[in-house]
């Protein structure tokens, strides 16, 4: 059972997956409540383009992908402001174009194919100490942004149209949050890969949403689920010999299925209890009559 802990690469992988699972869930809470799941998915693909270009020109992966993500967010915001385009169409255009640039660069430089597969599907077992430090630094930065913007973010997410009336600079808060989202995707890229990031952003907050009607509680539960499933996913992948990124998402999906199933059983039990109570009340009435 303790075998995975004996290897340095597994220790680094479990630490990275725990941190990334927690931070994607934390950002994901706002993503799902603001119905931005599509932008999370799109940004992951967009940043893939940035990662590919960074590799190709020999630029630092984290810096290159982050700049690319920030530029994508800027383009999306600019395009979405034009009334004829709309937010979802802007996301679709910008992110697929950025992804296509990555594909085009790959097709010109086939020797990099293996690295790009890692970017697409994650390569958590290859994380170095330096990667871990950079990822941890980014996660701390994202956590600080969420900490400082907590109140205005909650206000905007709940009552977007009125936030300005209460002195909140909606445009600035949204821009900073978008950058934090882009940074989250970059931090998660090596752990989960482009194709699985959206799931990690969405599943833990959705599971938490099914468990509570209190926002602070929802946030804490989502972060705990994200971190624990991140750790468990990598741990389990050692024994089942399956890609770690995929295992993390499969563990999260299993938690989702269990929570959903439990909710269905609970509601049926509640329904049966109500029916039983009604029958007893009816019986009592007829006896009294």
């Amino acid at each position: 059972m303790l075998e995975p802990f004996e290897f340095g690469f597994m220790q680094r992988a479990m630490i990275a997956a725990t941190l990334v699972g927690g931070v994607t869930a934390a950002v994901g809470v706002f993503v799902i409540l603001r119905r931005l799941a599509y932008i999370g998915h799109g940004l992951a693909h967009s940043i893939f383009g940035g990662a590919v270009v960074s590799f190709t020109i020999g630029f630092n992966f984290f810096v290159g992908a982050s700049l690319w993500g920030a530029f994508s967010v800027f383009l999306i915001n600019q395009a979405a402001r034009r009334r004829q385009i709309g937010g979802d169409a802007a996301i679709g255009i910008v992110t697929t174009a950025a992804f296509a640039i990555g594909i085009a660069v790959i097709s010109r430089a086939r020797s990099f194919t293996r690295d790009f597969e890692a970017a697409l599907f994650g390569e958590i077992l290859g994380i170095t100490n330096q990667d871990l430090y950079v990822t941890t630094g980014m996660i701390v930065l994202i956590a600080l942004v969420l900490f400082a913007l907590w109140k205005p973010l909650v206000f905007i997410t709940f009552d977007h149209d009125v936030a300005t009336s209460y002195g909140i600079s909606v445009r600035w808060v949204e821009a900073i949050f978008s950058l934090a989202l882009a940074a989250t995707v970059v931090a998660a890229l090596q752990v989960l890969g482009v194709t699985l990031i959206a799931a990690a952003l969405v599943i833990p907050p959705v599971v938490a949403r099914m468990m509570t009607d209190s926002f602070p509680r929802l946030f804490v539960i989502a972060v705990v689920i994200g971190a624990v499933t991140g750790f468990l996913g990598v741990y389990v992948s050692w024994f089942v010999d399956v890609s770690s990124g995929a295992t993390v998402v499969l563990v999260q999906a299993a938690v989702f299925a269990l929570t959903l199933g439990w909710g269905v059983i609970e509601s049926r039990r509640g329904f049966s209890a109500t029916r039983r109570a009604e029958r007893l009340a009816g019986l009592e009435r007829s006896l009294n009559d």
Partner: protein, 290 residues
């Protein structure tokens, strides 16, 4: 916004307002003194919300000057349709959003903030609902929760967008009573309403909008006039007055009993609340027509 002198809380001087380059209101001249209770009336799309939000400095200003007194704390209660009802938030948490500027860089609320929220919820009679999710409440309770969010800021100027829309007659009465109490306590209250008979006619001052401007500004007896209402709503209106009560009724195009010449005085005092036209026939009732 610039600042105004001590005698006025807000001054809109020759203002033209709108959004994205489209003018919604023009030539607006409105002065609001501290302690007033004002209703903004007009048909849908006449610019009621735009005028209300101009007091927050939100719509684009294309002409004129909009000024608000220094250090005015403004509380805003929107139409309840604007919020995300799936958001997991309790009544107390909504109320505390109003004080987000207090210790704005910290995610948690202080004991003083929670205490203030509890006091306001108690004043509004919903303290027992503090831990309930907001989506589980009735329309009136939700409206009071948003009122609480505005009141935790201890506003000098309270703006409400259709505060009685979608609530039953009892709740409407309670909300109006609470607004009147706040006004008596010194809060300046400005609200928009579609309800000319149940709300507007009971307010001391009305601003009627239509034709993209302010058509009238004054007490209900001056503003609720058939010619002004016909200009605002584009339809003849019957205005019935009885003592301090005013009733406004749209004149159906083919209703012979409501013909503009049909003003009557009768002795039958018991029929006055049976039907719209019987109100016109009650003794002591004066009917004005467009």
């Amino acid at each position: 916004m610039a600042t105004v002198g001590v005698d006025a809380l807000v001054e809109l001087d020759g203002v033209a307002l709108g959004y994205e380059g489209v003018v919604a209101l023009r030539d607006v001249e409105v002065t609001i003194a501290p302690g007033e209770l004002i209703g903004i009336v007009g048909p849908s799309g006449s610019g009621k919300t735009t005028l209300l939000r101009s007091l927050l400095g939100e719509p684009e200003l294309y002409a004129g000057t909009a000024r608000v007194a220094d250090n005015t704390r403004v509380g805003y209660v929107p139409q309840v349709e604007t919020v995300d009802w799936n958001f997991p938030i309790t009544v107390e948490q909504v109320a505390m959003l109003g004080s987000w500027r207090t210790r704005r860089w910290l995610p948690w609320t202080s004991r003083a903030e929670r205490s203030r929220a509890r006091v306001v919820l108690s004043q509004l009679g919903i303290a027992d609902l503090a831990d309930r999710p907001i989506r589980a409440l009735s329309g009136g309770q939700q409206q009071r929760t948003f009122l609480a969010r505005a009141l935790v800021r201890s506003p000098d100027l309270l703006l409400l967008d259709e505060p009685t829309s979608g609530v039953d007659i009892k709740t409407r009465h309670e909300i109006l009573h609470q607004l009147a109490s706040l006004n008596t306590a010194g809060v300046t209250v400005v609200l928009t309403t579609h309800d000319l008979n149940g709300v507007a006619s009971h307010l001391p001052r009305l601003i009627a909008l239509g034709e993209q401007t302010v058509l009238a500004d004054g007490p209900p007896s001056e503003v609720l006039q058939p010619d002004i209402l016909e200009r605002a709503y584009g339809q003849p209106m019957l205005v019935v007055r009885r003592g301090h009560e005013t009733y406004v009724l749209p004149v159906p195009e083919e209703a012979p009993g409501a013909h503009p010449d049909a003003e009557h005085d009768h002795d039958d005092d018991d029929d006055h609340d049976h039907a719209e036209l019987s109100v016109v026939d009650a003794p002591g009732v004066g009917a004005d027509h467009a």
